[in-house]
Amino acid sequence: MSCCNVAVIGYGLAGRVFHAPLIAATEGLHLAAIVSSRTSEIAAAYPGAKAVSDPQQVFVDPDIDLIVVATPNESHFELAARALAAGKHVVIDKPMALTSAEARKLIDKARGRLLTVFHNRRWDGDFLTLKKLAREGTLGTIAYLESRFDLYRPNVQDRWRERAGPATGTWYDLGSHLLDQALQLFGKPLGITADLAARRNGAVTTDYFRVLLRYETTRVVLAGDSLAPTDRRFIVHGSGASFIKLGLDPQQNALATGLKPSDAAYGLESVPARLVLPGGGEQAVTIESGRYGAFYESVRDALRGTAPLAVTAGEALTVMELLEAGLESAQFGREVITTR
């Protein structure tokens, strides 16, 4: 039984690679419309979906239940607000909005409607594995966790993510994922110290971040560097073991090359991970398969009322607050206290 008809606004990287294929693969969700000018691409990929050029068309369409905002960050607030005003449920790609103030306003406007943010990397295979190792006690007390998202891109590209402006650059783009994961593991830190920089020739927005989250004794470093090859993903040192994982979760590449979440190869990790035990011995770790599909299954189940929503708007708001605290820390060269 179909619970809902879904319209995706935007058919760039987020809409094309992530949202449309994941929605199409979710039993019970129907990809009914895509708002984009790329009509021929959409017709080829999703013959059953309408391609429309103006978001207004899906806001006024009474058959549409759920709107997915997968546009550049600067339009998240306006489109989500209009969708909510039209009585639609809303999924927003991360980051939720440009500012935490905008995010709070959206939460106010949601009233009774589902509002969530696509923090899909909670379902990265390596993160799921790490979470399990932490919960089961294999790692003991975690002293240090470094979570990296390095993509070697030495040349600045002309795309909105790399232009100047609020909520642009890698701290908002990739940092939002890493923050959400850290919050899932450890909750809110006591303080945040961020170093953000634009270091490539011609760079006008953040292309490097190194952010330290301070907990009582645990330290978490979130880092992304456009001048670093993808190598380390997680380095975790605990009293029980260290967990070392190289390489990025394969789901984005799998989706980009047309693999469906139902395909056997989807989400299968090819890069091995290892535990280093006290005394120096090592043990291979099998990384469980990633499953971004779980995000839309959760949205569906929440709409059906059979399960709580996996990513709450409040959690996404906390990510926004920490992104801003990071900016403030970098600007003033000091730690920003994040607990109230």
Binding site: A143, H237, E335
Partner: protein, 326 residues
């Protein structure tokens, strides 16, 4: 001419890093060790005089060079007394426990005309020498990021002066000086430092974790030490315009480094990095030659003072939770 050397202190540092290499270096003679560990000294160095009081070696006109490997808070006093007695002096790192003390010792050394230098022996280790060569010969290109680790798996807190609260204790002052000195050699003085320090092990009395970010115009340097991390893990991570280097395993031994790093080129291909080689006598060979006037002093006092300035700025940054401009 053979220089007569006295080592003060016979803990791990005095025994392994000073007395051993001194005894093996041509032109130096280990003449005396100041320590109560007489049995250890007799076993390791038969015939070498063991004395309990440093005054005995200060007063001995036959002693040319004094190596100080004692708890950090005693460095200033012992250096000052050795210089006053007309001796050349090597002091283990950290130079002293305040930059003001370090500057005062520099004045006294210059007035005495004696050599005073600080044991920044990490300049002579294989991993650093290989790295230095790869930067100098352009293998790595322009460096955008440099990360240097001194991690240890030491989950139990030993009963040692380093692990107790006080001036110059904890890993920032113990292992930090090595990492700082290397970076100052490679990149010069940073614009600013942001340093986080923590006591992570239950029962710890002094810093056992640090994460220091040194900010340069574009370059970023991270120095870090964690006592709950495996020692064979990361040592150096360097991202340059021509290659990235990842080097595992800290190597403090003589000979060719058995774990050379891996270079990743911009096209994604990888190859083994050149391996460095080390000889633990090198620092003392350089000291000997400097005293004999045939070579410049190995670690200049201004360099050692610069390390002290960074250590103090790191403490200030950690205490005030903000970046400190240097």
């Amino acid at each position: 001419m053979t220089l007569q050397v006295a080592v003060i202190g016979y803990g791990d540092g005095g025994r392994v890093l000073h007395a051993g290499p001194v005894a093996r270096t041509d032109g130096l003679k280990l003449a005396a060790v100041v320590s109560t560990r007489t049995a250890d000294i007799a076993r390791d160095h038969p015939g070498v005089r063991a004395v309990a009081d440093p005054a005995a070696v200060f007063a001995d006109p036959a002693i040319d060079l004094i190596a100080i490997s004692t708890p950090n808070t005693s460095h200033f006093d012992l250096c000052a007394r050795a210089l006053a007695a007309g001796k050349h002096v090597v002091v283990d790192k950290p130079f002293t426990v305040t930059a003001a003390e370090a500057r005062e010792l520099k004045r006294r050394a210059e007035a005495s005309g004696r050599l005073l230098t600080v044991f920044h022996n990490f300049r002579y280790f294989a991993d650093y020498k290989a790295l230095q060569a790869m930067i100098a010969d352009g293998t790595l290109g322009e460096i955008a990021y440099f990360e240097s680790h001194f991690d240890r798996w030491a989950p139990k807190v030993p009963d040692a002066w380093r692990e107790k609260p006080g001036a110059g204790s904890g890993t920032w002052w113990d292992l930090g000086p090595h990492l700082i000195d290397q970076v100052l050699q490679l990149f010069g003085k940073p614009l600013a430092i942001t340093c986080d320090q923590a006591i992570q092990r239950p029962g710890g009395g002094a810093t056992d974790f640090f994460h220091a970010l040194l900010r340069y115009a574009k370059l970023r340097v991270v120095l870090t030490s964690c006592f709950l991390a495996p020692e064979q893990e990361l040592r150096f991570v360097v991202h340059g315009s021509k290659a990235s280097l990842t080097k595992y395993g800290i190597n403090l031994r003589d000979g060719v480094d058995p774990l050379p790093g891996t270079l990743t080129l911009p096209d994604g291909t990888t190859r083994e990095a050149p391996a460095g080689a080390a000889d633990s006598r090198d620092f003392y060979i350089a000291v000997r030659d400097a005293i004999l006037g045939t070579a410049p002093q190995p670690v200049k006092l201004d360099e050692a003072i610069a390390v002290m300035d960074v250590l103090e700025a790191g403490d200030k940054s950690a205490a005030e939770r903000r970046e400190v401009v240097l």
